[in-house]
Subunit: 680 residues, 2 copies
């Protein structure tokens, strides 16, 4: 009887107010406790700041007020927040004990308490307080006429200290505004490391006063000025984000060697030349590790780059050196023998070790992709694990090996968002999976992870749609409790998070429409949009196999650029199929067959649209294949007949064929499952 | 018989190929002659450049190739165009005789000839060639599978030499990317003057190394660095656009005086202070023209500003000095008496004349708003005419007066796009209306016009939708033949032009959706969008009467920000009403009554949507009023009854009431017309 009463009581509370499952928070806080009541927002709502924070909290609090106002249209009275304790009666009180330092293992915790008439954010420093403001913005609820916060107690802190996003600005240059809006989005997901890939075979993107040739010759005019770099570093700092520059050496060096061919490893007769690459792929251009001039130039380049970045880390790349130029160069082979360097790995270690003092001079430690982890590598280096089964390695293996070998390490294997894989594969990819047994010391070396946005196929128009909202799932994996694994909850929350990212200027939704309008030639885009919701771009780099189809100036305004991983209709169809397989009710059958009807009509509409839109032509074979299968399945369902298995296999094969539109039918898996399980 | 044959022959040609009315060109070329055939685009299409152009043509031609490729998805092979005569066999040959100079009265003409296998653009200089490339991009046609150009001969040149857009970056700061995308759009409309309003009561936006206080104290951190200014000037130059900076003095000076209160005219006891304004409106803050220090500081400010801008003109504002501080200051009054300055106009002329040598030192002539045109003003100045009937002046009167008085002059009266008036009012506003009789010499002094985008109510989110596509109509007025006045043709062509502006990054369509998604709280936006298409923001500054409702930090993410002048459904309804009034057929009646049915359903849908979206509440009264009128009119139409005139008047009155959503029903004019004419 006691239990029943308690259950009833709990039920009443739950009905009377919110449950945490109604909240669309991301990353999910470590501890959250809904209490009774609500805090109703009015135009008099103000913020006050106390304690000894870094002034970045003033910018953060002012931005918070503007975002809150833009979202609610309340005409909040407070304008710029620039001083400590300027509004002591404010309803939101933020207190920070001290100035936050943007570095690894800094305290980023905060406590957020909302009662019906007061909100407080308490944090050790401004970095935690900024996280608290982001949580607060995510807590806003509304009824039909007003906005309010639920009463709540939250205490929160990150599971991992390194929660990063890498953007490759070399393959396709990404202008300042693209970087800044992504820094805003990162901050909203409590991410704190921006890894900036600034040089590769396709371009050198950072202006150096002492090496003007690099941008003059090897950037096609697309680079960040020193002032722009500073402005981005400052912008990141204001949002609690560390910026790690990457200058990729000794491989990926075509651009560097275009400016300084004299330090390349190629054997040529006459004048050595390199050129900026226009294709994707792995190229041979590699610095000569036996040439003293190589180190002279690199040291001087680092002297130019390092002072621009306050961070204590510097990423030297070090990946994918294919060794071809080294192997073909007799002088380099002789150098190896003379110096007892058994193989190219040893030679690369020799090279890498030379860089350490150049960076140490600027108080920076070396970070590199996992290939730098060779026997004699300094334990001061951070190992960036990236290879997995695609590269013939154990997934995340380098990370564990690094931690066990005494290196600090960061995981990107499993977080390559340019592979266009489904969100589940990223979300469930844990830097410290339970099956791995590490000592507490070893565990502490696993700093966290980084989503990696390689830019072979992204421009300012479509990059946001590749990064967001998927990176929010990675951000949650790196911040929140490891037990959080509910895909349904993730998907539900992401719908809101995705929409809210527009507030920060992220363009993933709006620019999809721009691409579809172009494809449709300014006709109605609804059917194109419907079709895009059941297609996904080819995965695992199949869209640009061999790096040949898309050069760096090829159009990325195509249907595949409007489509995305995690096609929404594929998910809806999967649910419909699963429901039907569980219970073959007429109702469930109708839901499934309505998809078929929709897809048949879609094909007809696309054909009609295509008469005035050449860019729709490449989609028609795929759409026809889906329509043909749908017609057959409808026939079978309606007439309860068995189908010719050969015919069905042929039709499915066509659905599976490589489409010249560079997309695949995301509904195909569920279609096959349905056909197999129902033995039709 | 001869005539009939000729007519038939013409008809055959016209059927076999395009007619110019099918082309969506803007601004319309001076001479266009469609010839026989088409030029079909393939991936091998290349551009070659010959002659002696300024290198800006390389950037222009490269951008042309990228835009063409993005639009067509053809994977064009050509990458960066950086040299003269690099592809002598290219199908598009561009020849420029000489280097173009970006200055007034420069030759901007071009000839464009397309045959079935060759395209040529011939121009005196690169400026004309750039215009030719824009025309070429507008000429692209398509069938269901391919893209082609119609064979054509075009010779083209501008009617006016000054075709400008002013952007006010002071009221709401507009970051670099906003300016750059608008420069792209301007170039696509063959506009060639960007007038940059850089200082006003609400902020000082240009960093000066010799006056750091200005941005430190009076910008709220929102300003252009010197490098950003240079980068924008360079970007404009590459697009054939002259940049004219404006530093508004002696009025509109709150920001300047916040940094340098010692040169203000205010009479105070103790320390003089001014502050950056947060509201709109006309403020008292005015420089003291009797204080030598005023000229010292201004001269030094001009020394900082002038070298950043290569243009020969410098805009000193000079408008809306209300004289209050001068009148209240006994020392200033005494100075006037001592110097025989009869009134404040004389005093302002005294002030303005002092600026001339400061600018001359930098080889710049003074330009100012029409208030500077006083008796003793130097004839070297350019008079910028802006006042009209709203300000109690004859529309465009100052322009004519200036031309007759010997001044070069530019028209903005009639081109104030922030008034949110219909496009017709701007398009038909001719700088040289036929009724005005001027000598050829006087006519030559009318340099052209400028669209004026004052920014009290625009942010980076909504500014593009205020400028575009409407400014394209102004661009056509300033470029094309004066006889071009067909509104139907304009509207038809604008539909395509508006869509194509997205290619250049203009956000007017995509950001409308962002605003609607925020208002709807991430629900389906279709009904909101429908409603937005029949509403227009309040006109003639009524949205922010007295400058009090919207402060500089107020939300501009509201329904009025999603709406625009020239509501599309208002135009459709107007046509339906006119057709019905001409011919009361059942069919025409049905078209009209379908609008009523739609509006009634819309109201219900909006109410339903509003249960989870507080920002929809302010729209409901207006929507209900329209629905109520529609119900009555439907009743009358269906039952052929007369209505109670009092009831109808009351309902219409409600439709006309000031809406708290700050919009008005754009369909109301046609509704009233229909009711009146049908005497229902």
């Amino acid at each position: 009887m006691k239990y029943i009463l308690i259950l009833l009581f709990t039920g009443i509370i739950a009905n009377a107010q919110m449950q945490t499952t109604q909240l669309d928070l991301m990353p999910w806080p470590q501890n959250i406790n809904l209490t009774e009541g609500t805090f109703v927002l009015t135009k008099n709502f103000k913020v006050n700041i106390t304690g000894n924070p870094n002034p970045r909290i003033f910018i953060g609090a002012t931005n918070f007020i503007r975002r809150l106002d833009g979202r609610t249209g309340l005409f909040l009275e407070q304008d710029f927040i620039t001083q400590i304790n300027k509004s002591p009666d404010a309803e939101l009180q933020i207190n920070c004990v001290r100035n936050g330092k943007i570095e690894i293992n800094e305290d980023e915790s905060y406590q957020l308490t909302i009662t019906s008439n007061k909100i407080s954010i308490n944090a050790t420093n401004d970095l935690g307080a900024l996280h608290g403001l982001e949580t607060l913005l995510q807590l806003i609820q509304n009824n039909s006429t007003s906005y309010y916060f639920p009463a709540v107690e939250i205490s929160d802190s990150p599971r991992f200290t390194w929660r990063g996003l890498m953007i490759d600005a070399a393959r396709h240059f990404q202008p300042v505004d693209v970087i800044k809006r992504n820094l805003d989005a990162m901050a909203s997901m409590k991410m704190n490391v921006f890894h900036w890939h600034l040089a590769d075979d396709q371009g050198w993107r950072i202006q150096l006063k002492n090496h003007p040739k690099l941008t003059e010759i090897a950037s096609d005019g697309n680079f960040y000025t020193q002032e722009e770099i500073k402005s981005i570093v400052k912008y990141a700092d204001e949002r609690g984000i560390l910026v790690i520059p990457e200058i990729d050496v000794p491989g990926h060096a075509s651009a560097l060697l275009t400016a300084y061919p004299e330090i390349g490893s190629k054997v040529v007769e006459g004048k050595m030349t390199y050129e900026v690459q226009r294709n994707s792929g792995i190229f041979n251009a590699t610095l000569d590790p036996t040439n003293p001039k190589t180190y002279e130039i690199l040291s001087s380049i680092f002297d130019g780059v390092c002072p621009l970045f306050p961070s204590n880390y510097f990423h030297i790349g070090g990946d994918e050196n294919n060794g071809k130029e080294w192997n073909a160069n007799p002088a380099i082979q002789k150098f190896k023998q003379d110096n007892n360097l058994v193989n190219n790995h040893d030679l690369q270690t020799y090279f890498n070790m030379k860089l350490i003092p150049m960076l140490k001079k600027h108080n920076k430690k070396l970070m590199g992709w996992e290939e730098i982890m060779t026997e004699n590598m300094s334990k001061d280096a951070i190992i960036h694990a990236w290879r997995g089964t695609n590269e013939g390695q154990e997934a995340g293996g380098a990370l564990i090996k690094a931690a066990k070998s005494g290196y600090n390490t960061v995981l990107s294997n499993g977080y390559y968002i340019d592979l266009m894989l489904g969100i589940e594969s990223h979300y469930l990819n844990d830097p410290l999976p339970k099956k791995i047994i590490l000592s507490p010391e070893e565990k502490a070396r696993v700093l966290g992870g980084e989503a990696a946005m390689w830019s072979e196929l992204v421009t300012p128009l479509n990059i946001d749609s590749r990064i967001w909202p998927r990176t929010a799932a990675i951000a949650e994996r790196l911040w929140s409790n490891e037990e959080l694994k509910d895909m349904k909850s993730l998907r539900k929350r992401l719908k809101t998070i995705s929409f809210r990212l527009e507030e920060l200027g992220i363009t993933h939704i709006r620019n999809k429409d721009v691409i579809l309008r172009n494809i449709s030639n300014n006709q109605d885009t609804r059917v194109l949009n419907d079709f895009s919701n059941l297609c996904e771009p080819l995965k695992n780099y199949k869209r640009n196999g061999g790096g040949k189809k898309y050069r760096m100036h090829s159009p990325l305004t195509l249907f595949a650029d409007a489509c995305n991983a995690d096609a929404s209709e594929a998910y809806d169809f999967e649910i419909a199929v699963n429901n039907y397989l569980e219970n073959k009710s007429l109702e469930n059958q109708k839901i499934v067959s309505n998809f078929y009807r929709k897809w048949i009509a879609m094909d007809a509409d696309l054909i009609s649209l295509s008469t005035n839109a050449p860019l729709i032509q490449p989609l028609l074979p795929l759409s026809k294949s889906l329509s043909d299968v749908s017609k057959q399945l409808l026939l079978i369902m309606d007439k309860n007949e068995k189908v010719n298995p050969k015919l069905m296999a042929d039709l499915l094969e066509k659905c599976n064929a490589r489409s010249s539109a560079d997309v695949e039918l995301a509904v195909l898996v569920s279609l096959k499952k349905l056909i197999e399980k129902t033995k039709i």
